[in-house]
């Protein structure tokens, strides 16, 4: 598995699951918080990728 996007999504999934479980006590709240965190990670990662795209790195 060498796709950067897939690896980023898998990483975001693990971190969201753990933080969602850690920060909230009720399962429904954990799911909601984890889903929001996951979306923020993935969308933020893609947005950051596009922002960096024009830079000559």
């Amino acid at each position: 598995m060498t796709s950067h996007l897939v690896l980023m999504v898998v990483f975001a999934l693990f971190v969201s699951v753990v933080f969602g479980t850690l920060m909230r006590d009720e399962p429904a709240e954990q799911l909601r918080f984890g889903a929001r965190l996951f979306a923020a990670f993935v969308l933020g990662g893609i947005a950051l990728g596009w922002l960096l795209y024009p830079l000559p790195l």
Partner: protein
């Protein structure tokens, strides 16, 4: 008065034992304290994340005092508990620096260890009756 002090000492010892177990096996502390759902989630997610990091050819860093940044990475790796020592003993986590996924593997291993440390702090709070 003596009984109260003894109780407090026993309670503190119990808390630290639970924390040590929570560090050694991700989720074990929560399971022992009756937080079954949280414990199972940590056990599965953190162990899988660590295994994923090894599969991505990440490195389990050695504790070398000559390189401070490597020491920090090593401390984060050790945060996952017994899995770290089992992986080192079996020769896993040697790290393949030219592999395309090497840095990703390191990120998975380090973050899994750090998140287990956060889970241990959560166990400490629960054992102290703060949560």
């Amino acid at each position: 008065m003596r009984a109260t002090t003894a109780d407090r000492e026993q309670s503190a010892t119990y808390t630290y034992l639970i924390c040590a177990l929570a560090w050694a096996i991700p989720g074990a502390g929560h399971l022992l304290l009756g937080r079954r759902q949280k414990g199972l989630t940590f056990l599965i997610a953190l162990t899988l994340m660590f295994a994923f990091g090894l599969w991505l050819e990440g490195r389990l860093f050695p504790i070398e005092s000559t390189e401070p940044l490597v020491v920090l990475a090593a401390l984060a790796d050790v945060g996952i508990g017994l899995s770290f020592f089992i992986a080192r003993a079996t020769g896993a986590g040697a790290g393949h620096v030219v592999a395309l996924t090497y840095e990703y593997g390191n990120a998975f291993l380090i973050v899994a260890g750090l998140m287990n440390m956060l889970a241990v702090l959560d166990v400490f709070d629960i054992a102290q009756g703060r949560k």
